[in-house]
C-alpha cells in the first residue's frame, strides 16, 4: 500500500529525470522493490528514446535525393495549370452566370435595352429599284440586323484609336527569342524594366509626335444601274446587218 503511493512519483522521476523528492528518496532507501521498479522504469524510457532515436535518424539510401530530383524534372509544376475538373466547373459556372445575367435573361432593364436597339437598328437596305434607304425600328433590327454599313466620321465615337500607344520594337526574327528572354528576366526588376521598356516617354505627348487617328477606309455604297441596252443594240444592229449581207453575198 505504501509503495503504491510512490508509484506516480517514480514514473515521473524516470520520465523527466527530475531530482528526487525527499519523501521518495527516503522511501527508496528502505524499499528494494521500489528501487528495482525505478530502475525498470528508467530502462523503459531509455529504451523508448533509443529506439525512436535510431529510427528517426536513419539515413535514406545514397540515390534517394537524386531519384527525387529526377522525378521532379520529369514533370512540370501543375499548380498553375487548370485541372480538368476545375476547368469544367469553371465553364459551367460561367455559363450559368451568363444565362442568369439580367441583360441576357429578360428585358429587366428596358432603358439600356432600348438604347442598344436604337443604336443598332439603323441599317441600309437596297430596294429593288436600286435606291438605298434607311429604315429604323425593331422591324429592321429583327429582319436584317447583320447588314453593316460604314460609319461616317461624325457618327464614329471619338477617342477610338486604331494605332497603339504601346512601345513596339522591331527585331530580326532570330533575335526575337533572345529579346523575349531579356524582357522576361527584366520584368522581375521593375526599375530596370521601366528604364528599358519605356525610355524617355513623356506623359503628355506633343502635338507633332502624337499618333494621329487613322480612320478606316470607307467604301461608298454600291449602286447597280441597268445597262443601256437599247443604245448598244442600235450600234450593233448596223454591224450585224452588214455582216449578214456579206454572208448572203458570199453564199450566192
Amino acid at each position: 500500500m505504501k509503495c503504491e503511493n510512490y508509484r506516480e512519483a517514480l514514473i515521473e522521476k524516470a520520465a523527466s529525470g527530475a531530482k528526487f523528492e525527499s519523501r521518495l528518496a527516503g522511501h527508496l532507501e528502505e524499499c528494494a522493490q521500489c528501487r528495482a521498479e525505478l530502475q525498470h522504469e528508467e530502462a523503459l524510457f531509455a529504451a523508448i528514446d533509443q529506439v525512436l532515436h535510431t529510427k528517426v535518424n536513419e539515413m535514406p539510401r545514397d540515390g534517394f535525393l537524386t531519384g527525387v530530383q529526377a522525378r521532379i524534372r520529369e514533370q512540370p509544376p501543375s499548380s498553375s495549370q487548370w485541372s480538368p475538373v476545375l476547368a469544367l466547373a469553371g465553364s459551367a459556372l460561367a455559363l450559368v452566370l451568363i444565362t442568369l445575367h439580367p441583360w441576357t435573361a429578360s428585358p429587366t432593364r428596358p432603358v439600356e435595352a432600348g438604347k442598344l436597339q436604337k443604336e443598332s437598328v439603323k441599317v441600309s437596305k437596297v430596294a429593288p429599284d436600286g435606291l438605298a434607304r434607311e429604315e429604323s425600328g425593331p422591324k429592321a433590327h429583327n429582319s436584317d440586323a447583320r447588314v453593316r454599313r460604314p460609319q461616317s466620321p461624325a457618327s464614329r465615337p471619338k477617342g477610338v484609336q486604331i494605332a497603339s500607344n504601346e512601345l513596339e520594337v522591331l527585331v530580326p526574327p532570330d533575335e526575337e527569342k533572345a529579346f523575349h528572354q531579356f524582357v522576361a528576366r527584366v520584368q522581375g526588376q521593375e526599375q530596370v524594366a521601366q528604364a528599358v521598356a519605356s525610355p524617355a516617354v513623356s506623359p503628355v505627348p506633343d502635338e507633332k509626335n502624337e499618333l494621329s487617328e487613322i480612320t478606316p477606309v470607307e467604301i461608298a455604297r454600291l449602286q447597280l444601274e441597268p445597262l443601256a441596252l437599247e443604245n448598244l443594240r442600235d450600234k450593233n444592229k448596223v454591224k450585224i446587218e452588214s455582216l449578214c449581207n456579206v454572208i448572203t453575198c458570199q453564199s450566192y
Binding site: A46, L52, N57, P60, F64, V68, V169, P173, A184
Partner: protein, 185 residues
C-alpha cells in the same frame, strides 16, 4: 532587305518562353530547398512507417506533392515546416492503408523478466510494440516525439517548426513519453 519582327516588350507576354523561364526558376528554388530538407522528409516518414524503403517512397511522394504546390507557398522560410506536415500526413495515410486487418496479440500483457535498456531496445518485439503504441498516440504528439528524437532538433527548433510555444512542445513530449511507457509496461 532584312526581315524584322514587331514585338511589344512593354506588354506582359504569356508566351511559352516566359512560362518555361518561370518553371525553371521554380525548379531551381525547389531543388535548393530539397537539398536541405530531403533527408528530413525521409526521417519524418521513417518515424511513422515501419520499413525504410516504404519511408523512401512516402518521402518521395510527399516531396513531389510539395513541388506541385510549391507556387502556393508564400513564405519560403516555412518550407521545412510545410514539408514536415505534408510528409507526416502522407506517412499516416500510408500506414493506415497498409495496416493489416487482423488484430495483433497484445504481447505486452505477458510478464517478462526485468531486462536492461539495451536488451529492451534490441528486442524486435519491443520495436514492434513501440510502433503499435505510437499509433495510439494523437498525431500532434507523434510528430513532436519524432522531431524531438531527430539529431540537431532542440525543443526550440521543434516549437518553431510546428509553430507552437516551447512550453506546449515540452508538456506534449513529456505526456507522450509517459503514455508510450504505459502502453509498453
Amino acid at each position: 532587305m532584312q526581315e524584322l519582327v514587331l514585338i511589344r516588350p512593354g506588354r506582359k507576354v504569356d508566351t511559352e518562353l516566359v512560362i518555361e523561364l518561370d518553371q525553371a526558376a521554380l525548379k531551381r528554388e525547389f531543388e535548393g530547398c530539397l537539398a536541405e530538407c530531403g533527408t528530413l522528409a525521409f526521417r519524418v516518414a521513417r518515424s511513422v512507417v515501419n520499413s525504410a524503403s516504404d519511408a523512401e517512397d512516402v518521402a518521395q511522394d510527399a516531396i513531389l506533392q510539395a513541388y506541385r504546390r510549391f507556387e502556393r507557398l508564400r513564405d519560403p522560410s516555412k518550407f521545412r515546416a510545410w514539408l514536415v506536415r505534408i510528409t507526416f500526413r502522407r506517412a499516416l495515410d500510408h500506414t493506415r492503408a497498409s495496416r493489416p486487418r487482423e488484430q495483433r496479440e497484445t504481447l505486452w500483457a505477458v510478464a517478462v523478466p526485468r531486462p536492461t535498456a539495451e536488451d529492451i531496445a534490441a528486442s524486435r518485439e519491443f520495436r514492434r510494440r513501440l510502433d503499435e503504441a505510437m499509433e495510439t498516440l494523437p498525431e500532434k504528439s507523434r510528430l513532436i516525439l519524432a522531431l524531438s528524437a531527430m539529431d540537431g532538433h532542440s525543443l526550440e527548433e521543434v516549437a518553431e517548426l510546428l509553430q507552437l510555444p516551447v512550453g506546449t512542445v515540452k508538456s506534449r513530449l513529456h505526456a507522450a513519453c509517459k503514455r508510450l511507457a504505459e502502453k509498453l509496461r
